[in-house]
């Protein structure tokens, strides 16, 4: 494979390069922001004090990571408020796994969701460590360093929830519901642009390879807990491995979303809209300016 050439500074990218970098950044930023937005719904509602604090902190981590990625999208002139509060919901590119609502008290869902999400995130971040775009590469280490305990937390809770029949059945319900949506983590935003992301070396692994890696990690673990991933059972003689798995109607990546996303978007932009904001203004005057 030919050595990948380093990409230029933001302003010097060609239109094609810039589009590819932006697609990669929106994948990352939107996932983190939306999944965190959902996680915060568990604040003061998680089953134990420790899990409440842990889950709130995980949400805070993901918001911090979203911000590191949105920072890079601001290189082309957009403000943070335009990227988050003012962007039309039909333009977001997060996986539908991030946007699905929780049923009240259904703790198995966020635990499983965060496991599926965080294993995928780890694989996707590692594929960016040698990115040809230096501004992405520079941030990956910081984020990876803050992710390890997310997976530990989720895996640890999954093990406990799967020890008893009743709670394992709840995890199984969540798995049946979430699994197709988790696959959209590896869905393309646009086939041609994703190919360009690979060709330009913005990431070192194509989506299909990362998806295989993810399946090879999550399926054996889930099965070891007594869960079944029916869709993943394919005859071994077919070398297609998991390529037959079906995606849900909406993948999120291609900007098609479930109804739940539009409700969530209404919720988190509600105050911004109600106050007639056009930018993220300061609530208080800076005392130094008085």
């Amino acid at each position: 494979m030919a050595a990948v050439e380093e990409l230029s500074e933001p302003d010097d990218l060609t239109a094609d390069e810039r589009e590819a970098v932006q697609h990669q950044l929106f994948r990352l930023a939107d996932d983190e922001f939306v999944v965190a937005e959902r996680y915060t719904e568990w604040q003061v509602k998680a089953p134990t004090l420790e899990s409440d604090l842990a889950f709130s902190n995980i949400a805070q981590d993901e918001l911090g990571h979203a911000r590191l990625w949105y920072d890079l999208l601001q290189d082309w002139g957009a403000e943070e408020s335009e990227l988050i509060w003012e962007r039309d919901p039909s333009e977001w590119r997060h996986s539908t796994l991030a946007e699905l609502p929780f049923d009240e008290g259904d703790w198995a869902d966020p635990v499983l969701r965060s496991y599926l999400y965080d294993v995928a995130e780890d694989i996707q971040l590692r594929a960016l460590q040698d990115s040809s775009y230096p501004r992405i590469r520079d941030r990956v280490g910081k984020i990876l360093g803050e992710e390890d305990y997310h997976r530990e937390h989720a895996a640890n809770w999954l093990e406990r929830l799967c020890e008893e029949e009743e709670s394992r059945a709840r995890v199984q319900d969540a798995l049946d519901r979430l699994f197709p949506h988790a696959l959209t983590l590896f869905a393309p935003t646009d086939e041609a642009v994703e190919e360009r992301i690979d060709e330009l070396g913005i990431r070192s692994e194509p989506l299909v390879t990362m998806r295989e890696e993810w399946l090879d990690e999550v399926i054996p673990f889930l099965e070891s807990l007594g869960l079944s991933v029916d869709d993943a059972e394919l005859p071994e003689q077919y070398d297609v491995h998991h390529s037959q798995l079906e995606l849900p109607e909406h993948t999120g990546r291609d900007q098609s979303h479930t109804d739940a996303w539009f409700d969530l978007h209404d919720d988190f932009t509600h105050t911004y809209q109600e106050l007639g904001r056009t930018s993220a203004e300061r609530i208080m005057k800076d005392p130094d300016d008085e």
Partner: protein
Amino acid sequence: MSNAYDTDIPDSVDPVDDDCVEPAGEACAYTEYVEGEAYDDVPATGEGAEGVERDVWDTLYEIEDPEMPISIVDLGLIYGVSVDDTDDGTVATIDMTLTYSGCPARDMLQDQTQEAVEDVDGVDRADLRLVWSPEWNLELVTEQGEQDLRDFGLSI
């Protein structure tokens, strides 16, 4: 003599994946902050700086972390300072990191640093650049910083 708590300790607990050095079954009483590596070129501490650059460093030393009485320089957040004469006047460029990406004090600390540096005599403008590589870790805290953190009550 056995104590009452023994009954709660399982006979076998898998000790793998546990940061603790205690035998299985005992509580994890503390977190050891030993992760991280030292780097050759960061943090910057302003050693040997002169003139306006010295004044910029002195100002940075006066800025404290919002939660702990430790200077942001001794905490190891400053990765570089340069002072250059340009067509726009004298510009101080500060490369700075944060301990945590989700730091809620990010804007506050950035604004405070920018304003303080722009107040330095001889500086017309400050350019603050947030950098995330190499990642901050405890090895970046200076000796003075470690002392300050110990005085504050942290075991480091």
